[in-house]
């Protein structure tokens, strides 16, 4: 009995020590200059495909989840050290293209990584975004969604002619929705317009099943709506300045104009609310409008 008790005690103490050691190792790793997650992948796509044997689908899932964790980890780290909102280019997602490329090389029919890549990579590495989506189109020539995503990538890069061509190709595929052909025409005629952007994001939102992508697109739609709202607010601020020879000192001075522009105002301050229902801020001594730091509307 005494011997058993001693054994149990030893096990408990050893476990306690091992937990303490793991915490020490974690702390040490956090201080290391280059975290493991940021190291470039040493397995290229072709090798990974060979090494996976019959388990390439599972390996593709692994790299897919790793890419999600990678981006999520970067966002958390950024938010821990910064107070303002972030743009994707500030996150230093240099391993993401390799992760997504591996995932799609292991399972070329896995659409989610292409979709994720189309959303994130244009800001991180535009060439990688184009290459990833082009490889997706080659591997799945009858999947209109990939043409839509590739068209989106070209549109992001302001290559409206290419985007138009891709939409036209995708629109001719069996099962493609009629708006693909309409987008082809729109890209050609008014590729850089805010209306075209709005339509693009609405279609992306409708076509996606991925909640993360839907969330990203939703934010872009909010950004576009906010740009329109800020134009309306600027008009009101400019006309006030033209009439009174000075900029506004509070939102209440332009409340009527803002209401006329169908903006929702904060009941306490009279500040117009952005699409995430956060009040806009007066900047430049009341001459201009800006987003609040706590808003969910992306700055870029």
């Amino acid at each position: 009995m005494k011997k058993s008790l001693l054994l149990v005690m030893t096990i408990m103490i050893s476990l306690f020590v091992s937990v303490a050691l793991v915490r020490m190792i974690d702390a040490h790793r956090a201080n290391a200059p280059a975290p493991f997650a940021d190291e470039s992948l040493y397995v290229n796509a072709a090798t990974a495909r060979h090494m996976a044997l019959a388990f390439n689908g599972l390996a593709a899932d692994w790299y897919w989840m790793r890419s999600l964790q990678y981006v999520g980890g970067k966002i958390v780290t950024f938010e821990d050290t910064h107070t303002e909102g972030f743009g994707l280019s500030e996150l230093d997602l240099h391993v993401l293209p390799s992760l997504l490329r591996l995932s799609t090389a292991l399972d070329p029919q896995f659409i989610a990584p292409y979709e994720y890549g189309a959303m994130l990579l244009p800001e991180v590495s535009p060439d990688e975004a184009t290459a990833l989506l082009n490889s997706g189109v080659v591997a799945n020539p009858n999947t209109w969604r990939l043409y839509h995503l590739l068209g989106y990538v070209y549109w992001q890069r302001h290559h409206y002619e290419m985007a138009s061509e891709i939409y036209a190709k995708g629109g001719s595929l069996p099962g493609a929705p009629p708006w693909m052909a309409a987008m082809a025409a729109r890209m050609k005629g008014e590729g850089g317009s805010r209306d075209a952007a709005g339509e693009m994001y609405r279609h992306l939102y409708d076509a996606s099943n991925d909640p993360a992508v839907k969330d990203m697109v939703d934010k872009q739609l909010m950004r576009l709506k906010s740009l329109d709202q800020r134009d309306e607010i600027r008009n009101a601020l400019n006309s006030y300045k033209a009439t009174n020879g000075r900029c506004v000192s509070s939102w209440r001075e332009v409340a009527n104009e803002l209401r006329a522009a169908r903006l929702i105002l904060d009941s306490k301050t009279g500040a117009p609310l952005d699409p995430s229902e956060t009040p806009y801020e007066l900047i430049k001594n009341g001459c201009d409008v800006g987003l609040d730091v706590n808003t969910k509307v992306p700055f870029k």
Binding site: H50, L53, A54, F55, N56, G57, L58, A60, D61, W64, M65, L68, Q69, D107, Q109, F110, A112, Y116, N209, D210, P211, A212, V213
Partner: protein
């Protein structure tokens, strides 16, 4: 686990030595083979081989619960990949580690002498052992397949057509396991369990590189190398034929012709393996 000879030996009625190919003898031979198979299955169950199902169920349950958050809406695909890959991996481990011990254990325990002293051919003994392990794997695969189907229904909170569509892929996994079992049995007739396990594992790995062997056989500059690669391509089991887990996760099932061809290939290749094993085993001296 120690066993008495009667545990491992099929309960056979005293039979007269085979008199030739009369129908009675054929029926008796089939019955004897099935008795050996039944015993091999019982032995596998007694050895707790099917306990791997518990691990499999835990894996699937954890996957079904946690993958939703980790995979950004891709849990259906991942649960199929995870379930079918685990099915193949567990199956391969069972085929290898149980397969290489099928003959060796009988020799080590000396139960083989009791069996072979009865009117049972050595080939018949091997066939019975092979069928017994195949039955174990079949039970394993069916239960695992049902588990994956249930997990898919759980994830969807209702009926999911993929719960049915994955079964052709499961069938092909089973065919692959039948071949691996045959390979393990072949090696176990002339080699130690450790070496047999290693060699079988190599065959499993190389079998999945068969497409590369074919490419090498057509791209190599040397004629001799081309011939060697071509010979390896045709002689080693072509396991890429059975690799349909990834398409299955996208709801793509192999067509009927592919399944029939894969089944025919499995049977023919297994016949070759079992005849080879029987030939080697019949020449072994147990004195």
């Amino acid at each position: 686990m120690s066993q008495s000879p009667t545990d491992a030996t099929p309960h056979l009625q005293t039979q007269k030595p085979s008199q030739g190919g009369t129908p009675n003898n054929s029926v008796r031979a089939v019955r004897t083979t099935f008795a050996i198979a039944r015993n091999a299955f019982r032995e596998a169950v007694r050895d707790r081989v099917l306990y791997n199902l518990v691990l499999f169920v835990l894996l699937l349950t954890a996957g079904a619960i946690f993958l939703g958050e980790l995979s950004a809406g891709q849990e259906t695909k991942i649960i199929i990949d995870l379930g079918l890959s685990a099915m193949l991996l567990f199956g391969v481990f069972i085929a290898i580690f149980v397969g290489v011990g099928l003959v060796y254990k009988e020799i080590e325990r000396r139960t083989l002498y009791a069996i072979l002293s009865k009117p049972i051919g050595r080939g018949q003994f091997l066939l019975g052992k092979y069928l017994g392990l195949c039955l174990t794997l079949l039970v394993n695969v069916i239960i695992m397949g049902a588990g994956v189907s249930l997990a898919l229904i759980y994830i969807r909170r209702g009926w999911d057509p993929l719960a049915i569509k994955i079964w052709p892929a499961i069938m092909l996994i089973y065919f692959e396991l039948m071949i691996i079992t045959g390979v393990a049995l072949l090696f176990s007739t002339f080699s130690s369990p450790a070496l047999s396990a290693l060699l079988t594992f190599f065959v499993f790995v190389i079998g999945h590189f068969s497409a590369d062997l074919k490419t090498l056989s057509s791209t190599s500059n040397q004629v001799a190398a081309r011939l060697v690669f071509r010979a390896l391509y045709y002689l080693l089991p072509n396991l890429t034929t059975y690799s349909v887990i990834t398409p299955a996760a996208h709801g793509i099932s192999p067509d009927m012709q592919s399944i029939i061809l894969a089944f025919a290939y499995t049977i023919v290749y297994d016949v070759v393996l079992l005849l080879g094993a029987s030939l080697i085993f019949s020449r072994r001296n147990f004195k």
